[in-house]
Symmetry: C2
Subunit: 145 residues, 2 copies
């Protein structure tokens, strides 16, 4: 597990270096990363490419059979859009770096049978805490506040 | 209302002409279309650009204040991902062309205070019925089945 969360954090840091919102994600199939990405609001002007969505998009078109053997790692608790994408594609397991700076739809995911594992990773908390302090308006835009 | 649903249907037909999945959407702000789009799975190899997502993406970055004065028109009942995006951005009203060929997360949207209006438009039903008959595998891929 830790290796893949490391990779999600690496994506988040890459996003930060690009001037973007530091949230990263990797999609893992049978122990192999098949998609990785990070939030693209600033870099790409995207309103749909949150970290998880970017990882899914970069993984490309897959059959339901593949998604059902996947797990997705994300540095931050998945919002309603990303949770909805996880449910749409039937990804059975989500590993969340932290949910202290933002709590997404973890209960909804669990109610639909998705296993949600909370890592409580301090590096993830720190990335978001610093970012939110530095750019509150940008952060609010990203979560529709 | 009818004028904007017409535009969503126009987008769906455009998608069909391009060889894609015939679902279209428009985002309307104070009576003016500010974003329009259609499903991009075939055309762009996208797994995140459903019709509604494409319309949101094409509208670009907006503040929460703008989304809250918007309504979104879609030819087909919004799936969990698209419903999640609607909730994320706080769009208060969704006009759905039809939900006979696919029923999305309308109940979830309503439970969170979104007004969902069902148009029961026969053209929307026909577009999807023909498409699903012609390309069932592609359709299943789009909805994670």
């Amino acid at each position: 597990m830790h290796r893949f969360l490391e990779e999600a954090i690496r994506e988040a840091r890459l996003g930060l270096e690009e001037g973007g919102i530091p949230i990263g994600s990797v999609l893992v199939h049978r122990g192999e990363i098949i998609g990785r990405g990070h939030n693209r609001r600033v870099q790409g002007g995207s309103v749909v490419l949150h970290g998880e969505m970017d990882a899914l998009e970069n993984a490309g078109r897959l059959s339901a059979a593949v998604y059902r053997e996947c797990e997705i790692y994300t540095t931050l608790s998945p919002c309603s859009m990303c949770s909805g994408a996880i449910l749409l594609y039937g990804i059975p397991r989500v590993i969340v770096g932290e949910n202290r700076t933002f709590l997404g739809e973890e209960d909804w995911l669990r109610s639909r049978g998705v296993e949600v594992v909370l890592a409580e990773d301090e590096r993830c908390v720190e990335l978001m805490t610093r970012f939110i302090e530095a750019q509150p308006t940008l952060w609010n835009e990203d979560i529709g506040v």
